[in-house]
């Protein structure tokens, strides 16, 4: 996920050193905050959808400031689509796994047969795993929709 800064700077017609420096400093902190919102869904307002949108917004900020090809070097198209599918499969996979082990669909307490913790604790951990899947899916779909609409389909040159 590295960006070649010299090439990115030469590709944009109107470069502004303040914008580029500020965005490069801000993006790691925005991503850390997005991860915080996902993980703290149990104890404060937050959860999967909210944190996923904040994470997606950080990549869209990079695309707005350094040009669309730079954000495509940061998060390649292949990684983007693979992460979207993995996020949806985590959710459905856990649900089907619960059904295969003998309980009902999405009944997290029968996962005690795999890892012997207290069934009530498994419900709390099951909710957390499912929110991670949701967060991954939402982040990549937001970035994908932005790429398609800002370049009108061709993904070579943004706004």
């Amino acid at each position: 996920m590295k960006i070649n800064l010299q090439e990115a700077r030469e590709r944009i017609p109107q470069r502004d050193i303040i914008l580029e420096t500020t965005v490069r400093l801000m993006v790691p902190f925005i991503q850390l905050y997005g991860l915080y919102v996902i993980v703290h869904g149990h104890y404060s307002p937050g959860g999967g959808f909210q944190g996923g949108v904040v994470l997606g917004a950080s990549v869209i900020l990079l695309a707005l400031a350094l040009g669309l090809p730079a954000s495509k070097e940061y998060l390649t198209e292949g990684t983007d689509i693979i992460m979207a599918n993995v996020g949806a499969l985590i959710f459905t996979g856990i649900a089907v796994l619960c059904a295969l082990l003998g309980g009902m669909f999405l009944d997290y307490s029968v996962l005690t047969k795999i890892l012997p913790i207290d069934p009530i604790s498994w419900r709390s951990h099951g909710i957390f795993l499912v929110e991670v899947g949701v967060g991954m899916g939402v982040m990549t779909i937001m970035v994908s929709i932005y790429w398609d609409m800002a370049s009108a389909g061709s993904l070579d040159e943004g706004l």
Binding site: H42, A88, R123, I127, S144
Partner: protein, 91 residues
């Protein structure tokens, strides 16, 4: 066209305002939405799932099916935008 739309809007608005006469008062603890199953959720959710945030507990555990299909909806929206907007190289 515009006066007809305005008339339809005003008639619909009047009917909806007439329909709010049956609603419970704002902030009533005994209104019908507040008294059937959400009483059980508020009292039992922390004991059964050890999650202090009742909204996350209901969203992830008691109503997990809805959350799964919501993720599928947003995935299908991403695929639909890709399918509508991308062009093949020969077009």
């Amino acid at each position: 066209m515009k006066p007809l739309a305005l008339l339809a809007t005003l008639i619909t608005g009047a009917l909806l305002l007439y329909g709010t006469a049956d609603f419970a008062a704002w902030g009533d603890p005994q209104s019908p939405p507040n008294s059937n199953i959400s009483v059980r959720f508020i009292e039992e959710a922390v004991k059964e799932t050890h999650v202090p945030n009742i909204v996350t507990a209901v969203l992830g555990d008691y109503r997990g099916y809805d959350t799964m299909f919501e993720l599928v909806v947003i995935y299908c929206a991403g695929m639909a935008v890709m399918g509508v907007l991308r062009r093949r190289e020969d077009q």
